[in-house]
Amino acid sequence: MELFFQQLINGLSLGALYALIAVGYTVVYGIVQLINFAHGEIFMVGAFGAFGTWMILGQPKDWSVAASLFILLPLMLLGGIVTSVAVALLTERFAYRPLRNAPRLAPLITAIGVSVFLQEFVRLFYGRIPGFPDAKSAIAFPAIPGISGESIQVGGVLIQMPAVFTIGALAVSTVFLWYFVNRTKTGRAMIATSQDADTARLMGIDVDKVIVAAFGVGAGLAAIAGVAHGLSYGNIDFRMGFLAGLKAFTAAVLGGIGNINGAVVGGLVLGIVEAMATTFIPGQFGSSAWKDVWAFVLLILVLVFRPQGLLGAKVVDRA
């Protein structure tokens, strides 16, 4: 039973990471019906942005716990968010916006191109910034005193502090997101646009602005996920966005694409399924080498039996 709870915690922390990224897919898809394939790279860029902020702050290593938690970490988060949002808005402006009315294949292929481009751009040019480490292989993410390497013991279950941070970040982000979507003018404009873009435009909503907002919100959350990833795994890599993005998309579909709550639920479910699969599937197929396979099998099963996702998608059938 302890093993179960241990894996539940592991799964929740992994799932929280997926959920934070998945929101970006779902918000953008809900409004422009575009699978922003490059969203995984936005997540990656966020992590590198946070790392860059740490570098600019002079690589602080011996700050006190309080200073690290309340000054360093927020600054790194801010740096990551700014980088991610900037990159996301640039891609939206220059890659996706000109294709707003093109056949659906065009933006999807563009998204693949953007994804490859961003990965390579970070790989080739991150190390060219004076003083920055070469990004051609994984970079060690800075340890934040109070989070990295710390853990708490609850009963027989060991909870790593980075997991607490990730789950906490998801909780805070979800509350913020709920408030943003339901209580602010821009958020309501987003709902209206996702329901019917043309009518929303007739009602005086600036659809372009709404789309920019959707990309921005998704990128911000992805950057938080990037920092959480760095803290949990201890390193960041230019390739990390591909698999994480794919998983997060799976989470978004699992919860029902276009549905923000669904993305959160889907992310958590996916994380837990992955964690449980490595423990409770007997024999060789339960080894961690297969966990990605089980995640994708889940995606296929969901599409077969419940294509609208757990909480119901917006529109499913689109050519």
Partner: protein, 576 residues
Amino acid sequence: MRVIISDQTKVQYRYPARAVGILGAVMVIVSIFLPWSYGQGALDDVGFTGAPSPLQMFVVILPVLVLVLLAIPLVGKQRLGKVAKVVAWNTSAKTASIATLVTVTIALAAIAIELKGLANVEIGGWLALIGAALAALATPFLPDSPEPTLERVKSPKWAQIVGIAVMMAAVLFAAAFALNQTDAGAFLTYLAFLVGVVLVLRQFGVMGWIGIAGANNNRVLVMSAFIVAFAFPFTQDGSDANMSIASQVLIFAAAALGLNIVVGLVGLLDLGYIAFLGAGAFTAAVLSESAFSTIDFHPPFIVTVLIAGAVSSLLGLLIGAPTLRVSGDYLAIVTLAFGEIFRITMNNLDGNDGPNVTNGSNGISGIPELNFFGFDFGEVHTILGVEIGRFANYYWLMLVVIALIIVVFMNLNYSRIGRGWVAIREDELAAEAMGVNTFALKLLAFAGGAFLAGVAGAVKAHHDVSVTPDQYVFLESAFLLAAVVLGGMGTVVGVLIGATILKLLPEKLRFFSDYRLLLFGLLMVIMMQFRPEGIIADERRQLEFHAEDEELAEEIEEELITHHAHLNPERKGFEL
């Protein structure tokens, strides 16, 4: 920014423009008899040691074209008669002079980079640059010529066939020369020249005429294309370096053609297509007589190929049956996920995390050469005095495979199935309402495309000698898709061109291999913005991407009518 020169100015300056253009062209032509660079280290020696270099002999064709295009109209419209009206003299002269300028600029840049510094460009190079710049500046002042109508001119059948033959011979010659350029700068210069010549010919109306001639003599065209492709190894003089690239291109092209059915004809976006190629390769590897093969069953290759194709198409059915009901974007991601599942599974079937089938990440190596009735693919054979090496053998085998694929593709295109596919692509709901069994047809496309990839994979396993899971990553799927998109979805020629470009360029331009993927990503984005229909556009698809362009719609309608009028002369066109 586009500078627009008013028609009035053009009429006013037409004589000086022509004169300056001719002067510029002559300057470039003269320049090849002068050294372009100090020393012999650049572009395979353009230092003029006695005679112009072969590259210069090619490049000079562009200014000669400028000269000819500008000079012939001087003879006078009356004397030229009908010829004067059906081709576009001025606009193609403009294109030719701009192409000259681009080519010369690239050549000079290459000299400067290879010899470290612009100081190494000598008088000939500067003369060429100035001449090209003069011509490129002057020719836009010529009045625009009307659209060429050469393709409407009735020409005898023998002329058409000769035209096709000449074009094919030129293609063979151009391809052989391009592949022999080992110097990256020379290759780029030559490439710019080739693109320039093609653009000029298109502008002039020759391409349209060839297109009609080809459509009229479809069989001749296809046959001569294959003869040329077949003859290609004889131009290589037993060298394996280029044949290795060529055979890789063909394997890649065969897979791309399979993907073209799925993406181009039916409009299903498959991002995990490389998995089918991999499934075929692994099947063939496991069934081969390699020491690392894990199954004790080694049928002859003909059987293996069929099994490999069948395994791939079975996988296609397995993945297609559940996911083809949800259309569009979901399919893209599910196939992507499937590609990952395939790669991870192949990695895990190593005896440690699963049963041992593939030896995990080590893969299966030491796959023996193919042997058809005593013809060993690994050995060097001498045919007509030319040594035909290992890669040339595989090249010919792939040529046969591609020929089969193309024949199937062309016939499908005009069959009930093919029309059903296109109908699904255009509007699935409408197709279903018209009685097209959309699900079955989509599944057929998926399984059929997978079969072709499986066959290509089986040959690839023997060609590469070893099969490892990391050859079948997502990026390869993206490359295949890019070949289809870049060349032109739904067309055979386009996909072949796209596959050639994507495989050939990285091989020839190794000096920026580090930036290869960056440029690839950028190319995809730019292509989607400016020419989403690809290099060779499928007519229907071109309309799709430019829905609001009325002029283009009329143009294509007209083209379709004339085209079909040529195909069925007795019907005099058809009503659209």
